[in-house]
Structure formats: structure tokens, C-alpha cells
Symmetry: C2
Subunit: 415 residues, 2 copies
Amino acid sequence: MEIKQITGGVNAAAGFTAAACEAEIKYKNRLDMAMVVSDVPCRVAGTFTSNQVKAAPVLWNMEIVASEKPAQAVVVNTGIANAGTGKAGMDLCRKTAEYAGKKLGLPAEAVLIGSTGVIGPNVPLDRLQAGVDKLVPALSASPEAASLASRAIMTTDTVTKESAVAFELPAASGEGTVTVHLGGMSKGSGMIHPNMCTMLAYLTSDIDMDQALLRRVLRDVVQYTFNMITVDGDTSTNDTLLLLANGKAGNRPVREEDESYALFREALLRVCRDLAVKMAADGEGATHLIETTVCGADTLENARILAKSVVGSSLVKAMIYGKDANCGRVLCALGYAGPAFDPDRLTIDLVGEKDTICFYKDGCVRTFDEEKALALLSEHTIRFLCDMHMGQAEATAWGCDLTYDYVKINGDYRT
Amino acid sequence: MEIKQITGGVNAAAGFTAAACEAEIKYKNRLDMAMVVSDVPCRVAGTFTSNQVKAAPVLWNMEIVASEKPAQAVVVNTGIANAGTGKAGMDLCRKTAEYAGKKLGLPAEAVLIGSTGVIGPNVPLDRLQAGVDKLVPALSASPEAASLASRAIMTTDTVTKESAVAFELPAASGEGTVTVHLGGMSKGSGMIHPNMCTMLAYLTSDIDMDQALLRRVLRDVVQYTFNMITVDGDTSTNDTLLLLANGKAGNRPVREEDESYALFREALLRVCRDLAVKMAADGEGATHLIETTVCGADTLENARILAKSVVGSSLVKAMIYGKDANCGRVLCALGYAGPAFDPDRLTIDLVGEKDTICFYKDGCVRTFDEEKALALLSEHTIRFLCDMHMGQAEATAWGCDLTYDYVKINGDYRT
């Protein structure tokens, strides 16, 4: 069945509203708080940072997701990450959730919290509360409200990241189908990411699906999407991906891994990939998106490790910025990734819109037309195809180039 | 017993000579070939890159080291790495070793080969041979010749890296002691390193020690020195560390892990640490050396992983360049390193020449005097001390900051 790209971001699904406001958490004159609310309780699935040091909002959300109780709202601030803040940080989450819950008529445990920005300082509670006061009356189901929310969660991002799809599932009534929506927004550049306290992604859907399946499909899809992007190898203390499903589409409830599950998985894959690739392309200082597909690997895990090693290599990233066809760096990054392979069977291609150049074959770096290579390296998306010739496993990873601006942005992030 | 710092580099030990020349391997008007020769056969120990793709000289040397046959000479070229060159690259090694061996009166298998530079192209054999013709008559035991050799193996290095020590061991005659020397030179920035095909280190000693012990002590020491530095996380296809020992000091042969072994281990540790730290400080584009000591860890392995994670973090590296006391990034880098720890027990200090600032304690980033922090971050060596408060294990890692010049150097390395 067909999956259609639509507009609307986090408001694409029935029953969801969003809002954004200027709360002066750290900076003036910019949207820095966002809220997403469902008018009925939602099942929630989430994945969180693997960092040993978890920001307070991550711990707050993990508890809610683990409780399997329904949630209904998300409150996000930028500017300060509420990480490295100890008990005070947890108190702040609770007080924020209580305050927003009271305004929305919800228990505190139905309010998820997100923060992104600098690690260390405490977020001022009074400004969060003043922000909530502005957000609640501004909640709207319009696509514009969703867009503003996606803008409000940006930090060093240069563009907003939204995505949404619609598809048909059998109706709960047993007659015909209903349209199910899945949308979302994200900020930052990955589970492995550019600016610390950074990757936040919120997905909303009106699908009716069992909680356990919702978690399973999210965990599954994240391995192919958000976990396959990298900007600088630094995994944040705040990384959060939440999926809220309120069941308002009226589909026949999804209770097993049937065709409906498969279709939702495909839709989720599409939205997550869209958001993840947008994050990689908007990596700090980036001028190119780098996409590396490893095929013919012996296992899926090895294909992933190899593909991520290429897009994560500082030398590959710097060479793409300099449009320098120094293909030995791709070879080297595959070589130190970890998985064993035979360099004599490996092939590496640089794949452009119209042309392809074989960089490496039969154990040797090949000579190639430098002008043609320069043309391919001048495209916005740089694609490498690495065939290990060992098996059937395949994986794709995304990253961005390393530029002067990355150093500039991160040399004085706090100031 | 005392270990004295001396001069002389690879010529510090008795019986070794060195030479350098301009061979125009890739560039004109620069020293780009070096040779080190012992006047008697040496026992050899070596460690090599863990990259799946190994340059031809690495494979050549691994075979010699594995054979346990004595070696007597090393021939090194810069400019081209002889990596990704398949069978032609191996033929080149053999022909170069045969040619140099003939000139030196040695079998080809006694000649070790080193190459560093761009991956892919073939090294021109005629230029290597012409280089050997120049090197052999220029061989000299002078400290100046050793210095020129250390200059000839540089690529993007900005300073030469030499080190040497002397210490007393019981004499073979049974009466009194003899002076044993250990010296070396290196280039590049680590087993994990800045410019691909990069880290080369050659150590020479006149100690008389069993081959098996020589290998054991080298493998041991490398874990505390060369394997604890990083510039950009890219492990080269060419990394090579060789230790040649010719026994000319006349010490009572070292045949077990006795006091003599312990003293040699200490001397080796000192020389390797010196060379390794010099490489980290001279990382491409670097303006600061970063030293991170993790103490109180549960295991040595975890201490190493945690310390390396901090010096390897792009965000920590960029913050040091920008003199921005964004201590959350050190916290974050420990957190995503892998080993489990309790963030509430961790402490992080920034340790300067005279002052120390506590950045993190009791689960919270601390407030600190920004001016004092700026003064500490203006020192050349930036030292972090991270106490996990879990056990007794300790490790130190070294790296350098991430600067515009790193991007510049690697954006157009080939041109």
C-alpha cells in the first residue's frame, strides 16, 4: 500500500496541537520553548541516549515511558540542557511537568520534558512557567503551529526539520479503510551529534497500536535511521526520541506483526530517515551531506559499523569539504572500523547524480579522471558505495563534512 | 637505578648509523628518505597498525618480525605511503630491500621498510634506488645524522621528534656495569593519527636482551604510550613501531623479567612516552596539548577507554582551541565512552601549572571563576584529572585541540 508524503509535522496526526513561544531561557528574541499536546491520552515509546551521564529530562521521560502509563504532552526548552544539574535538575522537571499539567488538566506524569543547550547551568523555573503560560493558549492544530514548534526547538540548526506521511489501514469498524497519519519534528544532528545536549525528535501518530509493538517498531527503525547518522562522534547527554500515538485514526487496532504493522514500520522508517538525514545534512558548519552504503557485508551489524566509520572519519569529512578525491581515506576508514574483510575483494565507488567513479578495486587504488571526480565532489550529496563481496548484508549511514565553521561554532559555544 | 636523558636519537646506541637525503619521491627540495643501519645483526620487535588494510611496508616488516630472523637496516621514504597498491606495492618493498641489502652487504630480509604519505600511488622504484645510492655513503654515527634522519621522515609534522636515554646494567663480564643506550625517532601523531599513513617510530638500543622479552616489553609499553595518543581517531594503514637491539652494550644478557628487564622497561616507557607526547602536541594544526588522567577507575582497560574518550572528543578539542571552559563536554565524553560509572561520584578537575579548578562534583557542574579558567586554558598543556571514585586503576591519554588549520591541512592534503 502507498505511503504519501504530507505536510503538518507534529500536527499531521488527528488530535494533536502545537505551540511555540519566546521564553528568554538563555537568549532574547528567539523562539525557545515548544509544546505538543494530544487531546486524548497517548501510548508512548521512546529511545534515549546511551550516555552514562543522562540529563534530567531524559531520566524524567525514561521513567514515564517505563511506567507504560499514557502521556499526553511534551514541553521543550532550548538554550540550557538541564544536564549535569543533579537533584536540582530532576526537581525542575517535576515542577515544570506539574505546572504544565495543571494548566492542561493533566497529571504531571502525562507531561514529557525536553531540554537542549549548554550543559551545567540550571534552567530558571520562573521562565519555564511563564513560557507555559504563553504556550497553552497558543496551542493550535495548524501546520503553521507545528512549523513554529519545530523552529523553537532549534539551537545551532540552520533549518527546521519536519516530516509527515499518511497511509491507509483497515478501519476499526471492519468496513473499508481509514487514513492514518504519522508526523514529527527533530533538531540537532544525531544520536552521535554536533553540539551536545542536542538530538531531540518528537513523533506523533493517530494510529491505534499496542504499546509493546509501538516500542518494538521504534527500536527497530531507529537502528536504520537516527543511529546511522553522525556529525562529530559525540553522543549527547540529552538525546531523546519520543513517539506518541493517540489512536484517533480509528484503525483496527494493531496487535501483532501483521501487514498493518509492516506498513506502519515502513511509514516510520520513511519519517525517521527523512528527519535523520535532514539532521546530518544540517550538521554544524556542514556544506555537504555524506551518504555511505556498505553492501555485500557478512552481517548487518558489520555493514552498519563499516558505513558509520566512513561517514565518521575526520579525514574523510575534511577531504569532502576540500573536494579532494583522496579515496585512500575511505579505504582507511573501512580498515580501522573493526570488522574483518579482505581488501582484495573490496570495491569502492563514488556515485554521483549521473556518473560513477570506481576508486578502489582488486586491492589497488585506481587512477581516475580528476576533473570528473571534482564534478562529483561538487554535488551536495556525496555518495560512497562500498561492496565488501562477502555476503548479503547492507547498511547506509549519513554524515556531513568537517569545515572551518564547525571549529568556529564549537570553539566558543557558550559565549 | 637512574635513567639519564641523553642526545643522539637513533644513533645514541652503540653501533648504529643514520643518514637522510633528498630523493624527490613526491616533492622537491626536502629530505624525504632516511636510513638507519646497525653494524651487527639486531633482534627486532615491532607493533603494527590494527587497520584491516595494511600498507605493503607493514606487511613486509610483519613477515620479518614474525620470522624472528635478525634485521640490520631500516629504509624509509615519505611522500607516498605505498598503501592500497596491491601486489605491485609488495614487489616494490622486495626490490627496495634487495637493492639496499646489496649496497649494505645484507640479505633483503634484513632490511625493514617504511613509507608514509598519500595512499594509492606507486612509489617510483628508480627514485628509491637513487635515494639508497645517496644514503649508504652518507651513513654516520653522529647526533647530527640522527637528527637529519628524524627530519627526513616528517610529513605534516612541524618539529622533529627524537628521544634517547642511558642507564647502567650489570656487565656481561660479571664485573661492574656497562652503559646501555636506548634512542629513537618518530613522526606523525599516533596509532590513531592525523594524516593517514602516518605514525612511524624507530627505536634502537645496544642492549642484549632475548627476542621474546624484547617483544613482550614493547607490547607492554606501547599500551601506555603510543596507544594512548590520538589526534583525529583515524588509525592509519601504515602505523609502525620497530625496536632494534644489537647487544653491543656488553651487558649481562637479559633473559628473564628481572631487575634489568624492569629498568629497560622504564627506559622504554620514558622514550616512548616522550615521542608519543611530542606527536600529540604536534598534531595537525594543534595549538594545545591535551592530557587527561583518569584515576579511581575500576579497571585499567576502563581507565584507558575513558581517558582516550576525553582527548578524542571533537567538542572537547574545539573548546580547548576556543579557550572555552565548557566542562560539560568533558563530562559528556566520559559518559559516552562505554564503561559504566556513577555520575554522582565522579569529580573532574582542570589542573594548571599553579591553580586547579573543580569543574564537576556531586553530580553537578560547578560554577567557577571564568577569568581563572581562561588563564588555565591559556597554558600550552591542558590537563584534566577525572576521578571515578570506583577503584585504583589509572591511565593517561594525550591529544591536541581541533583548529581551523586541521581542516585546512586535510581539506587539500593531496594537492
